[in-house]
Symmetry: C2
Subunit: 200 residues, 2 copies
């Protein structure tokens, strides 16, 4: 116990964490959230369960952080093209179509698991939904500051719904994973006009 | 076999079909699509498996038709309020919040099952997605004919994505089932402005 209590969280390097996250995503794709165990993660990554629990607290947090880490290009916050259209297109271009298809399958599985795992829902919100929403709010705020959209436009509160919805509906309606071309058409036809933002 | 071959599909009355559909939805909520068996449906409804297969062909078609049958108020086609805003609000008002919450849970389960069951995907498209899309196209066409929206508005092809997306994103982002109030705000803030339709 003394060793655990004094262990510093910083003992895992970013490189090692990246390896662990990649292994967690592989396991998620293979068996799904419910069947994923910390034992399997420990075995696959040759780490001890004590280390995993010390560093991540539990399965839900480990999975949420692994998914967050896999988001290409990191935070939306680094995107600042000078126009809302440019920023939203840049968001889309962070993932190529292959990554988007993989991500779509993974998120579908997790979206289901969230409904029967309150821990995962909490971790998902804390590490994925809320940071992404905060990033979107900054992108929108810059568009408001530039005068591209009115601060009282009622579509502002639905930006995430529009984007997440397009992603989810694409598979159901068109039997195709979302692609960059699809998302860019959707942004130009739906998101920018709803926000009253320049589309040209 | 002679009896099966000469049996007429019309032997099941609409009332009896409604009972069967209700039992199928109960079973779906209890065990999910993958664990649902025709044996369980036969036992629950005191019908023979031969009858079920004769009438519906298989599990996928039976489930898709049961879901379609559960849609309150039947086809969108009966809705014709004289404005696009009125029509889309009327679509939303077909289900009260309790029905919407039940429907949302059920559709979430089926949306997952579709990805590993090609039969279900086909039946889902044939009996649910395509009829609903055709209905939406008629609603939109009337709005075009009335001069409410331009026929070349690029958002027209995304009407289903906007609507389905709002439904799906609501649970993920807000941790709440979609409600009438949410959907009406979304229609007024997003769908009508994207289509360039009157919102007042």
């Amino acid at each position: 116990m003394a060793e655990v209590a004094t262990a510093r969280r910083s003992r895992i390097t970013p490189e090692r964490a990246a390896e662990l996250y990649a292994a967690v995503l592989d396991l998620l794709r293979e068996v799904g959230y419910d069947a994923l165990t910390m034992d399997a993660v420990a075995a696959r990554t040759r780490s001890s369960k004590a280390t995993l629990y010390r560093q991540w607290g539990g399965k839900a947090e480990l999975v949420a952080k692994a998914v967050r880490h896999s988001k290409p290009g990191g935070s939306l916050d680094r995107i600042d093209t000078g126009s809302l259209k440019g920023d939203l297109h840049a968001v889309t271009m962070r993932s190529d179509d292959c990554q988007m298809e993989q991500n779509s399958a993974l998120m579908r599985g997790l979206a289901m698991a969230v409904h029967s795992n309150p821990d995962l829902l909490r971790a998902f919100r804390e590490h994925l939904v809320e940071p992404e929403m905060a990033d979107f709010r900054r992108v929108i705020q810059r568009a408001v500051d530039r005068g591209e959209i009115r601060p009282d436009n009622p579509a502002i509160e639905f930006v995430m719904h529009m984007m997440v919805g397009a992603f989810a509906a694409r598979t159901l309606i068109d039997e195709q994973p979302p692609t960059q071309a699809f998302l860019i058409s959707y942004i130009d036809a739906v998101v920018l006009p709803a926000l009253g933002a320049p589309t040209g």
